[in-house]
Every structure is written in structure tokens, then in C-alpha cells.
Amino acid sequence: MTTRKMVFVDTSLCTGCKGCSVACKAWNELPAEKTKLIYGYISQDSTTPTTWTYMSYHEKYENGKMHFLMMKHQCYHCGDPACMKACPVGAISQTDSGYVLINQDKCIGCGYCVANCPWGIPKTDETKNKTYKCTGCIDRVENGLKPACVSTCQPGALQFGDREAMLQTAKARLEEVKKSYPKANLYGENLMGGTTYVYLLLDEPEVYGLPANPTVPSSLTFWKDIIQPYGGWLIPLAGAAAIGSFFSTRLINAASSKSKGGKTHGH
């Protein structure tokens, strides 16, 4: 069995150069989008079907001291992925190494995964009816290479390796960084079943516009763990279509309000 992998995002070393954004586009052959500045140096404030990682900046001026925080965003590749639970057609799977992948042949672009991701990461291309997100560069990793973003990161803010070893590195680094940034914390170690991208943040998650406690919606747990296993005999029942529609509508509403909250820029 393959060991679980991890990318350690040490934001104390990140310089916000956006090299990861470009490396991601280059490796995955994603086209550039026409953008405008949205705020500060930000021209992208969410993922799109063709933008799988982007950089955000957060400014906090306190007691005459400036804090200029930066982090990259992409799929967290959760240990307990809500998107996978939500997918009605079984297009989303998880590898032993911890990667959460969308099988494009199976994907129908329904958007359930989009709505249920606590960070609003996957995005549906409405013309192709397919949903896309960061693959973790599984095609590189399975061939002995580092993910494109990690391999291009000059200041060494991104490190890739086995999860246990990376977590040790991350914890040691946290102890060091806490001396200068008392609010520093590891984000992702235990969230959503433990994420594959784990961050060292210099301030509370909310300052970065991140949910402090992302969760799998309980309604989704109900759908996945209770209803879906019986789908084989439930669906032929007359009421099945109505039940499905009831849940999906509820879920989308619940999750989209959540993902909006995750997109604000602390400044």
C-alpha cells in the first residue's frame, strides 16, 4: 500500500510570487484567462475550471505594524472528502496516497462536489458539463516527480513528501515560527479527515478568509452513508426522484452560502 503523501505549505517562507500558479497552468496545459485586478495584487480570487491554484494576499495593520500575509489556494485533497461523498455518479475517488481525483469520463458536471466542498474549490465548466480541480499532479507524483507547484517554488515554501515525515517537519517549523508569530498554527492536519495540503499559517485562519472548522455537511453524511448504500433498491421506488431532488437542493443552498464566506479577503 502506498503511504499517504503531503504538501507542506509554509506561508512564513512564501513570497507570493505566483510561480506556483504559472507552473500549474504550464504542466496541466491550462489556458490563461482574461483578468483585471480585483484587489491589491490579486487578479484571481477563486479557482475556475482552468485555474486550479491561485495566490491570495491579506493585509492587517495593527499598532503601527504591517502584516502582509500570503497563501496559495488549491484542492486540499481531504482525508474525508465531502466532494467524493457528494458525487452521485461515483466519478470522484481517493488514492492510497491521499489524492482526490475526478474521473472526467464519469463526471456529469452536476456541481454537487462544487457545492459541498467547504472551500468551494472544484468548478464546473458549464459548456462541457465537467468539473475540474487540482489533481495534485498525480501524473507527476506517480512518476517520481514533485507536483509542479512544489517543484517551481524557489523560496522553499512548498515541500512534498510522506505525510508522517512532512507533519514532523511542519510541527518543528511551527514551534520556531511561533516565537515571532504567536498566533501561528497548522491548518489541515486534522481537518476533513486530515488534508494532503497542510498549511503553516501566521495568523488565525479567518484572517486568510478560511473557515476555521470546515466540516462535511451532516445532511451529506446522511445522503452518502445512509441513503446511497440502499440506492440499489430505493431508486426504483416511486418516491426516489423526489427525495433526491429534495436533498440536492438543500445541499447546494447550504454549501454555497458557506463557500461565499470562505472567499472574503481579510485586509
Binding site: S12, L13, T15, G16, C17, K18, G19, S21, V22, K25, A26, P31, A32, E33, K34, T35, K36, L37, Y39, G40, Y41, S43, Q44, M55, E59, Y61, M66, H67, F68, L69, M70, Q154, P155, G156, E176, S180
Partner: protein, 804 residues
């Protein structure tokens, strides 16, 4: 740096930054603009190094600093002067180092004076200084007289102490806007941790006081004993990947390759040149003439010295100046390779005016830059422009072989990875084809002025081979008929028996292509990587490393030892190449004490005195020939603070001398602080490269940085009624442009001489063409240049701003 240390180059390397205990990063946003520097700085940070950032803006670099100070653009010398005073007052200097490796004890001419902002010897008509009083007291043998103690009233150290006695922390606060306590904190932290490293880039050089700002760095590092040591030094982070290479190959108009002074019309013969510049320059001059004229260069014809066109010092325009000369008709033809002046030159309307008066403009580039289509800019009248414009498509960096020399003086060979697209060609092929055609046209001419073309040694093959060019640069030995094997072989050969196209590169192909070495091993852990490519001179990775040893020639820092004297073998040896006069001369000999062998005194220069060392005579020369002349700072032997040409305030040090009296001013329109109350500073962003000719044509980069902007403080935004994202018009006496406003806490208003001042920050990489056109910030900047280096004062001018 050249007047201080003898060589105008970054002293250490990128990898060496991991060895520093503290960094002063002032005049560089390296986390953004030199990401590789940041990679190594991060390694030092992980080991506990402290980072101090001084910048007009809170940059991405500042976000990683332990100490940040926001400074008014163009006032660095004021706070650096206060740090120098702090070091001297508190006796924090390295006493042994200062007495041994600097000219601190050298007695200065009693007629030297500094009064009311002016040094002795100024000619107000030419706006130039005579160096006659900036000299040493000399003994009968032409050697400088040394004082017995640093308290001697005549010694350079005392001059330094007196000069900077005016620079208190409080005065520095009034000028720079940095609180005095913060300046003191910077001084304390930087002086308490050694080795300390200073990094700068265009933030320090793009001023009319550029050279003197760097001189402050030199003085600080010499006083603290940080020069010549792993983790120390002064790092000039170059603005482009191969700027060091192009400077080595003489992109400055007063140089020949290898920093040989370009002969002027006063040096009519080779003997005159030798008399003026000494044997130190005579040797490489003969070698380069032999490289350029080959068999045609003989002792009998002064190696073809007469064939070299000579400079006229009264008319030597730098790039910023020559567009004005073009407008007056001095130039008929401009070959423009890989430069986008229409975007990059300050007060840029002068560019189009100049180009419009040419007979022909040839632009070689990979994209059709703004310069290549200057006549298409909105507002131009193409029907009135007679200039014939020819565009030659160039190969991109990956489509051509050759070398690049990075800031660490590392000469790196690369092969072409791809074939050039369509008809595009490498620059070398283009120049080779043009030269061959020109020589064909001049064939048979007997006019002496055509000899330079007809007698040139030009044979790089049918299709020009860049390796043959590198071999010519390396040089040949007539006696062996082979390539020079090392720098030492060149230096020890009788003058006239060796050629080299750039003497500091001698040895690069001496035993195979050393620039192509790719062994990345680093057994010392100091980042020397001696078998990776080849660093000039002689593969030395840390310049002046003799200064890392004590009186016995042993390393003062065991953890970071570079070289040492091996008494048993009678030789200087070590992990790095020893930067010594003679490897066999021990620390008890005069030569063995020399740490700065490229200066005439052999020491680092706290006071840049005028001095020509040595004793006459080389065999082939009739006139007396001294050995070496000092590099000079044309605007003073000690740094003095002057206000930028456009400044929001009066010079409180000397109100009658507001600006650098030697500055060369090209722009003709100037604004007052009443009309233009704010200070503009310009810079690059990580997403775009220089004038944007390449990067604005790369969609992925346009996506992440789509447009230019003006960064302003929240208080200024409030004053002018602007919020984030609004359009603002920024104007100066010279022009205006409209961009998007970024409203941020990363800029704060500050007090200067009691008055509140705002800084506005704008990137400059946009122009009217490309996939991502945008207005050019150089509409408003000012063309005024440093008298020594010729760099324009892009970093400060006065502007106004309003909601558009």
C-alpha cells in the same frame, strides 16, 4: 564599489547568502524581484539570521523582515551616515581589520576640505571636481604616509569621523522620515551580528546620488570587517540575468571589455594611454587589441591602437542622454538589440523625438516592441517621421547557445534547446552577417579610418559559433600557440605575447569549457560549488577573501573558513581560490597583507583618494608608466546627502546646495512641491520583466498581473476621495497617465522636516503595444542621472494625483 574595492561587482554569491547572520536589504525587493536570492536568504533565516528591510513601501520582502523601516525615496545616505557615525562613536569597528585592510590610517592632503555641502576643487562651470586635493600625503617614493593611530587629525579615519559627525539619528529622522529610534535599532542589530550582508538593486542605484549611496555600504562593511568573508560583502543584485555579463563586455560607454578605460582623444597613442592609466590597464589593453586585430596587431604598430575610435569626453552621451543628441542630428543610425527604450527611458517622450530624427532604426527583438513601432503610438504623426524602421526577428534565450554571467560573476554556458522559429536568428548570427557584409562593402578602402573594419580579426565560422567567441575572450598565448590555461598565465606572460578579449575571463576555456561544468557538489557546506561553471576572476567565489584571515594568515571565522596560509607548503590555499597578489607570498610579506589588490594602495578605501601607485616602466614603453590608478567617485571622496532633483523639502544639511552639484540633468520641466506635493517611486513587479517586451506577450503572466496601478496610502486616498479600484490620474511637470488605484496600509504618510509627505508607488513595465498594453509610468519620471554611473533617478520625482 570599484572606487572602494577595485572591482565593480557583487562580492559574494547567491549561495553564500546562507552563511549570513544578518541582512540589510535596502534598495532591493529581492523576495519579489530576485526570487533566487530569497531562496538562500530563507536558508539563513531558518538558521536564525535577522532580516532588516528599508524601503519606501512595505514590499513582499518587507513582509518577511524582522525590522522594517519606511524611508522617503532618495534619502538613504542620511540614515546610512547615521549608522556610520554610530559605528565610529561606539567603537564598533573591527580595529585590526580597519588598520590592516583599509586606508583608515593614510594621511589626507591638508588642503582637502568640505564646507557648506561642497568638497574642495569644484568648477562651477563644468560642474566637475578637480581631484587634486582629494589626495594622500606622499613620501619620497610616492607611497602614502600612514599615521600611527586612528586619532591622527590628518588620517582618512578622522576625515570620515568628522564628515559624519553631523549625521545624528535625529537629523536622519528629519530627512528620511524613519523614526530615530528605528534607525538606532537597525544600527544595533546590523552591527551586533557578524558576518552581515548588504543587498541592493536598482532601489539604490536609480538616484542622482547612486554611487555615494553604495559608498556608504562600502564604508559600513569595511568598518565592520564584513568584506571578503563568507556571509558578508555587498551584493549588487543585477536587474537582468546577464547584466553582469554585458557590463563585463563593456555596455558602459567609458569602458572596453574587462573594465579597461575606453581611450579618449587625449590619449593619442598607446604610450599616452599607458601613462594615464598605468601598467595595470596597459597589459589588458594590449591583450584586447591582439584579440581584436589578431595577426595585424604588432608591437611595431602599437597593436592597432590607432585603429580604435577614441571617445570625446566632452560628448559622451549615456543611453538616457543620447536621444537628445539624436534629436539634434548627431546620430543617423541606431542598432537597438533587446532594449525597449520607448517604455524604459525616464521622461520617455525624449525617445520618440530622437528616434524620429534618425535615417534608420534597426530593432532586433523577439516581439514587435513599442520601440520597434514607436511611430504607431497614439499622438505620433507617422507622416512627419522619415525614419526607416527595420525589424530583425531574434532568437529567444532557449534558441541560442552561449554564456550568461549572473550577479555572482558566474559564467554559465548553455546550449540551444530549440531551433529558432522561422527566420529568427541568434544575435551573434545577426551581428556576424552584418559585419561580414559591411567588410565586403569596405574592401579595398585605403582610408585610415576604415582600418578598424578591414583589420579586425573576425572568424567565427560560416555560421558564427559562440564557442569560438568565448575562446577569443579566453585568449591565446603566442608562445605556445594555445589557449591561455588560466588567469595566472595571462598575468605572468610578457606584455604583447598573449591576447584576451576580456582579461577577467581568462582561463574560462583554458582546460575545456569550464563555463559548462555542472558538478553541483559542495563539500564545505558554504555554497562555494567550485566545480559548477566558472566565476571570474580565476574562479574566486568570494572576492577579497584574503581579508577573512588574521595576521598569521589563518581564518578568523573557523566555521566559515575560505582560505589560509599553509606555512609548511609556503602557499595560500583553501576551499575558495585565494584572492591574493601572489600565492607564494606569506602574510609576513607586504604582498601577503594585500586584500584589495585591484586598488592602487592594496586596501579598501574608506576615503576614495586620487592616487596612482608605483614606479615607472615597462620595457616596451618610453613614457614613465605607473602601475595602477585609483577608481574615483566623481562627486566626492566621502558620501554626502543631497536631496533628489525634485524633492518635497529643502536640504537641511546645507540649504544652498540642495542637489548633487555634479548631477547631469536632461529633463527640462520641473515641478515644485506646491504643485506636485507627493513623491513618486517606480519599480518592477515579479510578474513582469523590465519594459515588459517579453512578459506582456505571455498570457499566463498577463493573467496574474493584468494592468499597471498606483499604490497609495489610505490617508492619501481619503484626501483625494479615491477608493480601491478607482482610476487615478498621476501627473508631473513632464507628463501624466491614468491607472487603477490600490489603496493600502503598506504605504504610510511620514514627516519630513515637520511636514507630512506621501509616497506613491507605481510599476513601470507597461507600454502601448503587446498582448497587454497599458500606460507607461515613464511619462512622468525624470531624466536626471548620477554623474558617475549614469543611472537615471527613476526612484523619486514629484507628482500630483487626482481621481480620474
Amino acid at each position: 564599489m570599484s572606487p572602494s574595492f577595485g572591482r565593480g561587482a557583487m562580492t559574494n554569491s547567491w549561495q553564500d547568502m546562507q552563511n549570513s547572520e544578518v541582512f540589510l536589504i535596502a534598495g532591493s525587493n529581492c523576495a519579489e524581484c530576485h526570487p533566487i536570492a530569497w531562496k538562500w536568504i530563507n536558508r539563513a533565516r531558518l538558521k536564525g539570521a535577522k532580516v532588516i528591510v528599508v524601503d519606501p513601501r512595505f514590499t513582499r520582502t518587507a513582509s518577511k523582515a524582522d525590522i522594517f523601516a519606511q524611508i522617503r525615496p532618495g534619502t538613504d545616505i542620511a540614515y546610512l551616515g547615521a549608522i556610520i557615525k554610530y559605528i565610529i562613536d561606539n567603537k564598533l569597528y573591527d580595529d585590526y581589520y580597519v588598520k590592516t585592510f583599509t586606508n583608515a590610517l593614510y594621511k589626507i592632503n591638508k588642503d582637502f576640505k568640505f564646507e557648506d555641502g561642497m568638497f574642495s576643487g569644484f568648477n562651477s562651470e563644468t560642474k566637475k571636481y578637480s581631484y587634486s586635493t582629494w589626495s594622500y600625503q606622499l613620501d619620497a617614493n610616492n607611497n602614502p604616509i600612514k599615521a600611527d593611530s586612528l586619532d591622527d587629525p590628518d588620517c582618512a579615519f578622522t576625515k570620515l569621523k568628522e564628515h559624519f559627525s553631523r549625521y545624528t539619528f535625529e537629523l536622519a529622522e528629519q530627512i528620511t522620515g524613519i523614526p530615530a529610534a528605528k534607525i538606532k535599532e537597525i544600527a544595533e542589530v546590523f552591527c551586533s551580528r557578524r558576518p552581515g550582508n548588504i543587498l541592493y538593486a536598482l532601489g539604490m542605484t536609480q538616484h542622482t546620488t547612486a554611487v555615494q549611496g553604495i559608498r556608504c555600504y562600502a564604508i559600513i562593511q569595511l568598518l565592520l570587517g564584513n568584506m571578503g568573508k563568507a556571509g558578508g560583502g555587498i551584493q549588487a543584485l543585477r536587474g537582468e540575468p546577464n547584466v553582469q555579463g554585458s557590463t563585463d563586455m563593456a555596455n558602459l560607454n567609458a569602458n572596453l571589455p574587462g573594465y579597461i578605460p575606453y581611450p579618449t582623444n587625449a590619449e593619442k597613442t598607446l604610450q599616452h594611454f599607458a601613462a594615464k592609466h598605468g601598467t595595470a590597464q596597459y597589459r589588458p589593453m594590449v591583450a584586447i587589441l591582439k584579440a581584436w586585430f589578431g595577426q595585424n596587431a604588432t608591437a611595431a604598430n602599437d597593436y592597432g591602437y590607432d585603429w580604435l575610435p577614441k571617445n570625446n569626453p566632452a560628448n559622451m552621451p549615456t543611453q538616457t542622454q543620447f536621444f537628445g543628441q539624436m534629436e539634434k542630428g548627431q546620430f543617423k543610425l541606431l542598432f537597438n538589440f533587446g532594449s525597449n527604450s520607448t517604455v524604459s527611458i525616464p521622461d520617455r517622450k525624449i525617445v520618440a523625438r530622437g528616434l524620429s530624427k534618425l535615417d534608420m532604426l534597426v530593432v532586433t527583438d523577439i516581439f514587435e516592441t513599442e520601440t520597434a513601432q514607436f511611430w504607431r503610438e497614439p499622438g505620433m504623426k507617422p507622416e512627419d517621421i522619415q525614419t526607416e524602421v527595420i525589424f530583425l526577428p531574434a532568437a529567444f534565450v532557449y534558441e541560442k547557445a552561449g554564456t550568461m554571467t549572473n550577479s555572482s560573476r558566474l559564467i554559465q554556458w548553455k546550449e540551444a534547446a530549440l531551433k529558432p522559429l522561422n527566420e529568427s536568428l541568434p544575435d551573434l548570427d545577426i551581428i556576424d552577417l552584418i559585419f561580414k557584409k559591411i567588410r565586403e562593402l569596405y574592401a579595398g578602402s585605403t582610408d585610415p579610418k576604415d582600418n578598424a573594419i578591414l583589420k579586425a580579426n573576425w572568424d567565427y565560422g560560416k555560421h558564427a559559433d559562440p564557442y569560438k567567441v568565448l575562446e577569443e575572450i579566453n585568449g591565446y598565448n603566442d608562445n605556445t600557440g594555445k589557449l591561455i590555461s588560466s588567469l595566472a598565465e595571462y598575468l605572468n606572460a610578457p606584455i604583447g605575447t598573449v591576447s584576451t578579449g576580456c582579461w577577467i575571463y581568462a582561463g574560462v576555456t583554458g582546460s575545456g569549457n569550464l563555463a559548462n561544468q555542472r558538478n553541483n557538489s559542495d563539500p564545505t557546506g558554504l555554497g562555494l560549488n567550485k566545480d559548477y561553471a566558472y566565476a571570474w576572476p580565476g574562479n574566486i567565489r568570494v572576492l577579497y577573501n584574503r581579508a577573512s584571515c588574521d595576521a598569521n594568515g589563518q581564518p578568523v571565522d573557523e566555521k566559515r573558513k575560505l582560505i589560509w596560509w599553509d606555512a609548511a607548503q609556503g602557499v595560500w590555499t583553501g576551499y575558495d581560490g585565494p584572492d591574493v597578489v601572489d600565492k607564494t607570498k606569506g602574510p609576513d610579506t607586504p604582498e601577503g597583507k594585500v586584500a584589495f589588490k585591484q586598488t592602487p594602495e592594496g586596501v579598501g578605501r574608506l576615503f576614495t583618494a586620487s592616487y596612482t601607485s608605483g614606479v615607472p616602466v615597462a620595457a616596451t614603453v618610453e613614457l614613465p608608466v605607473p602601475t595602477r590608478s585609483a577608481g574615483m567617485t566623481v562627486d566626492g571622496p566621502l558620501p554626502e546627502f543631497y536631496e533628489p532633483i525634485e524633492s518635497p523639502t529643502a536640504n537641511i544639511l546645507h540649504p544652498n546646495v540642495q542637489n548633487n552639484p555634479c548631477a547631469k540633468i536632461i529633463s527640462t520641466e520641473f515641478g515644485s512641491p506646491e504643485e506636485y506635493p507627493h513623491v513618486l517611486t517606480t519599480y518592477g513587479v515579479v510578474e513582469h520583466f523590465c519594459a515588459g517586451a517579453i512578459t506582456r506577450n505571455i498570457p499566463w503572466l498577463n493573467e496574474i498581473m493584468p494592468e499597471p496601478f498606483a499604490e497609495i496610502s489610505k490617508s492619501l486616498a481619503k484626501k483625494i476621495g479615491v477608493k480601491e479600484g478607482d482610476k487615478v490620474e498621476v501627473s508631473s511637470a513632464r507628463g501624466k497617465l491614468t491607472v487603477r488605484a490600490i489603496v493600502t496600509d503598506r504605504l504610510q504618510p511620514y514627516k519630513v522636516n515637520g511636514k507630512e509627505v506621501e509616497t506613491i508607488g507605481m510599476p513601470w513595465s507597461w507600454g502601448f503595444a503587446s498582448l497587454s498594453p497599458g500606460p507607461s509610468t515613464n511619462n512622468v519620471t525624470m531624466a536626471a542621472i548620477d554623474p558617475g554611473a549614469g543611472t537615471p533617478e527613476y526612484k523619486c520625482c514629484l507628482v500630483n494625483i487626482r481621481r480620474a
